[in-house]
């Protein structure tokens, strides 16, 4: 949690310093789905290896995302700027009975930063419709922890992996102005090529599955956001 806050604080400060030249600044809160096929398979392996009846409680589900964008170069109907965001998901294999409990948690989070360009293809009154695309670089962190508790005996193990990957997020945005302020809705998709999960303390070690294949993160999935923003070039009374 602390890592996410610090990373996002950096982005916020970066946005704020660019506001001098900014055209638009908006923040989106949304919901996104994540492919994570290899992570799910990896978690399935964990479950299969356990001699007891452990269950997969969480399997890298879709979850909330946050993204912020600052557009400051305006070419007619095309605006270019920076974008960045964060997202997280996770998986859990869990078992518990009267004698103790076991869980294997995979807490996966990512922060990405990239360019964003949007083309306003419809502008009518206070409404704008845009299509946009954001190539980005993604840094993911997997905190893989196991906890085994039998009566007073508790065994905990934590391994942290990191990965870096590239991707593109693209979609359509509908924006409605209230003076310089606006609200918008975005719907699109995220195409992430995934990255190797390297052990943080030893980057030469990567996470592999039982078949010896490298396990990669994959944040690809739908994205549905809503957000608010400000158009610095627009007057208060402009409609």
């Amino acid at each position: 949690m602390k890592k996410s806050i610090s990373r996002f604080s950096f982005l916020v400060l970066l946005f704020l310093t660019q506001t001098v030249y900014a055209q638009k600044l908006f923040v989106e809160f949304g919901h996104g789905g994540f492919g994570m096929a290899e992570m799910k398979s990896f978690q399935q392996e964990i479950q299969n290896q356990l001699e007891f009846d452990a269950r997969i409680i969480e399997n890298f589900p879709a979850y909330y995302t946050v993204k912020g964008s600052l557009l400051f170069v305006d070419f007619e109907d095309v605006t270019i700027g920076f974008t960045g965001g964060t997202m997280s998901t996770g998986g859990r294999v869990s078992y518990g009975d009267f004698s103790g409990s076991y869980r294997a948690d995979s807490e996966l989070s990512a922060t990405y930063f990239g360019l964003i360009g949007e083309h306003i293809f419809l502008k009518r009154n206070n409404l704008e419709l845009t299509v946009n695309a954001s190539p980005y670089i993604n840094t993911s962190t997997l905190d893989f922890s196991t906890e085994f508790i039998i009566q007073d005996n508790r065994q905990v193990q934590l391994l942290t992996f990191v990965s870096t990957s590239l991707g593109v997020e693209s979609g359509f945005t509908a924006r409605y102005y209230f003076g310089p302020m606006f609200v918008q809705a975005f719907f699109g998709g995220n195409f992430n090529i995934g990255g190797d999960l390297e052990l943080k303390t030893d980057r030469d070690a990567v996470l592999i599955d039982g078949a010896g294949e490298i396990v990669k993160t994959n944040w690809s999935g739908y994205r549905a956001n809503i957000g608010i923003g400000i158009n610095f070039k627009r007057k208060q009374n402009e409609n």
């Binding site: 949690m1 996410s4 806050i5 996002f8 916020v12 704020l16 506001t19 600044l25 923040v27 809160f29 001699e51 007891f52 009846d53 452990a54 269950r55 409680i57 969480e58 979850y63 909330y64 995302t65 946050v66 912020g68 964060t86 997202m87 997280s88 998901t89 996770g90 859990r92 869990s94 078992y95 518990g96 009975d97 009267f98 004698s99 103790g100 409990s101 076991y102 869980r103 948690d105 807490e107 996966l108 989070s109 039998i150 009566q151 005996n153 302020m181 608010i228 400000i230 208060q236």
Partner: protein
């Protein structure tokens, strides 16, 4: 203002959104269908001795040697045994993660005493819980045994009594009641019955491995004195028990022989006290060698036997010796004292039989023998090679009363003629068919003197009334030589050609009509005889043995000192130039080579005859046994 407000609120909103958009793992799965197991029913355990593969019964284990045990835990549904551990008096001995625990205990490490062997084991509950599956949930059980170790030496045991029980000598002793028992070692001591002063010595050992058996029926003991001690062997150590009381028993009646009117013998003996130990009686007739068994019985009550003396082989029967062996069922350690040999004799211990003569001309030995009734006798002819009887004739057939017959038998010097003489009569017997060819009446032949000698010319010299007489067996002429004959056990001889006669001190020569004195030999000469027609072999008392040539008057000394005693049976063999003599030994030539130790033949009496035939000789011992040179018996006729 609005912009500032908006920026501030936007920042707050962003932080809020970030915080609220971090994925949280907060759900867990709990399986409430798994419930604790507090007891496992049906667990069974076994403790076995490894070597014997026997299950230990009860909760006390007594031992004294190094033991290997196997402890097994059997669970009803195959529940896993996580740990099995053995403790001896609280200290861990060994442990295993399986259901089979091997335990080795060497008593030498602990010493005599009682110890507690506790075996604790953990069994997985099988509840299916996480702890159970992880091998961390188990139910604990334990089982304890008392170990009794006794490696101390066994105490001494005493023989309580030695008495006859059920017909056997039976020593009984204190029971050894410690569990480290291995065996009772019943040591038997027998007294030397041939020399009781030697005391007792070990004569048997009986080993009993049942600790509850505290007596032993000694089937090896029959007669004599015996005592026992009982040692205990326990924990590989042996105690030495004190000697028990002496037990002594004798056959109540000795072996006795009674002559019956019909000439048979009744032999009786006593029954052994310990009759159940008797295997059999063996009754021997010891006149013969080896002694034949004439009666045998396994019935202890068979204590009388009638021996028909007609069964006895061989000539003559004056003295008989019987021996009884009492043989136990089980020979006791090879102890000769238990082979009881009891002897009994019957009959006169006198000179019983006739004399012997031999002739290489007829290849025969001739001998006389009196019947057991002593009313008649026999003359036997025996083949000198096969020693088989080839002919016989009764004395009565010769017309001579047997009870007065002196039965001297001799051949002429040329071994062509056979004569039989008693105190009154002289008989000439056909050497071939033993028929009577001639008989003469003599005057008082004295059979205590030398055996008459006959030359090839028919001149016989014999002793009568202390004088030497010359009898012509062709004409019946009987002449007394001058001078006194010195009497008993002295020699008289005549040369084969009849020219010379020697009568102990005087030498007579035949001059064509009568014998005249030629010379007088030394008076100290004992025993002299002609070895051919011109030489005489003589022995001088306590001096030399020599040969004197009558023609040349030369003397050849054979032995310069009294190296052997040539008694009246000594013989000279002209073919080998060897002197033979008997005094317990036979001598062969000047080297005194003992060619036969007569002691090997149990001679019981001075030999009475010495017969010579070429390079072989025969001698007789008093009980009728004849021996050939090679020791072969001559009584099978």
């Amino acid at each position: 203002m609005v912009a500032q407000f908006n920026r501030k609120n936007i920042a707050i909103l962003i932080v809020f959104l970030v915080l609220s958009c971090t994925f949280e793992l907060d759900e867990e799965y709990f399986n409430d269908s798994v419930t604790p197991v507090t007891e496992i029913q049906g667990i069974s355990t076994t403790l076995r001795q490894f070597d014997l593969n026997e299950q230990i019964q009860g909760d006390t284990i007594a031992f004294w040697t190094e033991q290997d045990f196997i402890y097994n835990v059997a669970t009803p549904n195959g529940e896993q045994v996580l740990l099995t551990e053995a403790f001896l008096d609280g200290e861990s001995l060994t442990r295993t993660s399986s259901r089979n625990l091997s335990i080795n205990i060497d008593p030498a490490d602990y010493g005599t005493g009682f110890y507690t062997l506790t075996i604790a084991y953990l069994i997985r509950t099988g509840s299916g819980s996480l702890a159970d599956i992880s091998g961390l949930e188990a139910l604990a059980y334990q089982q304890s045994f008392v170990l009794a170790i006794d490696i101390s030496p066994p105490q001494e045991l005493s023989v309580i009594s030695t008495e006859i029980v059920n017909g056997f000598v039976t020593p009984s002793w204190e029971k050894y009641d410690r569990f480290n028992f291995q065996e009772y070692r019943v040591q038997k001591y027998c007294r030397d019955e041939r020399d009781p002063s030697n005391g007792f010595s070990t004569c048997g050992l009986f080993i009993i491995t049942d600790p509850d058996v505290t007596s032993y029926a000694d089937s090896t003991f029959l007669e004599g004195a015996v005592r026992y001690s009982v040692n205990v062997r326990a924990a590989n150590q042996e105690s030495t028990g004190a000697l028990g009381p002496i037990f002594e028993t004798r056959i109540s009646d000795p072996l006795t022989v009674t002559g019956l009117p019909n000439g048979d013998f009744q032999i009786t003996w006593g029954k052994p006290t310990v009759e159940n130990a008797l295997d059999r009686y063996d009754l021997y007739l010891r006149n013969d060698f080896p002694a034949p068994i004439i009666f045998q019985s396994t019935n202890p009550n068979d204590t009388t036997f009638i021996y028909d003396s007609d069964d006895r082989p061989g000539p003559g029967f004056s003295r008989s010796t019987f021996a009884l062996s009492i043989i136990p069922k089980v020979p006791g350690g090879g102890n000769p004292q238990e082979f009881q040999l009891i002897e009994a004799r019957i009959g006169a211990d006198t000179h019983p039989f006739g004399s012997f003569a031999s002739s290489d001309v007829y290849n025969s030995i001739y001998t006389t023998s009196r019947e057991k009734t002593a009313t008649d006798g026999y003359l036997f002819k025996i083949d000198i090679n096969s020693l088989e009887k080839t002919d016989s004739i009764k004395w009565s057939t010769l017309g001579v009363p047997a009870n007065s017959f002196k039965k001297e038998l001799f051949v002429s010097k040329d071994r062509q003629r056979l004569f039989l003489i008693n105190s009154v009569n002289l008989f000439e017997i056909n050497p071939n068919d033993l028929s009577l060819t001639n008989s003469f009446t003599l005057g008082n032949y004295d059979d205590t003197e030398f055996i008459p000698k006959v030359s090839s010319t028919g001149i016989m010299v014999y002793a009568s009334g202390g004088q030497m007489r010359v009898f012509n067996v062709n004409t019946g002429n009987d002449v007394t030589l001058p001078n006194n004959f010195f009497g008993s056990d002295e020699d008289g001889d005549i040369t084969e050609d009849g020219k010379y006669i020697y009568d102990n001190s005087y030498l007579f020569e035949y001059n064509g009509s009568q014998y005249v004195e030629k010379s007088r030999l030394a008076t100290q000469i004992f025993h002299a005889r002609f070895i051919d027609n011109t030489r005489i072999l003589a022995y001088r008392r306590n001096a030399e043995t020599f040969i004197y040539n009558l023609e040349t008057d030369e003397t050849q000394v054979l032995y310069e000192d009294n190296q052997f005693y040539m008694d009246k049976f000594g013989q000279y063999d002209p073919f080998t130039n060897t002197i033979y003599s008997l005094q317990g030994r036979l001598f062969n030539g000047p080297n005194q080579l003992s060619i036969m130790n007569l002691n090997d033949f149990t001679i019981r009496q001075t030999p009475v005859s010495f017969l010579f035939n070429n390079n072989a000789f025969i001698f007789q011992i008093a009980n009728g046994r004849l021996f050939w040179q090679d020791g072969k018996y001559l009584d099978q006729f």
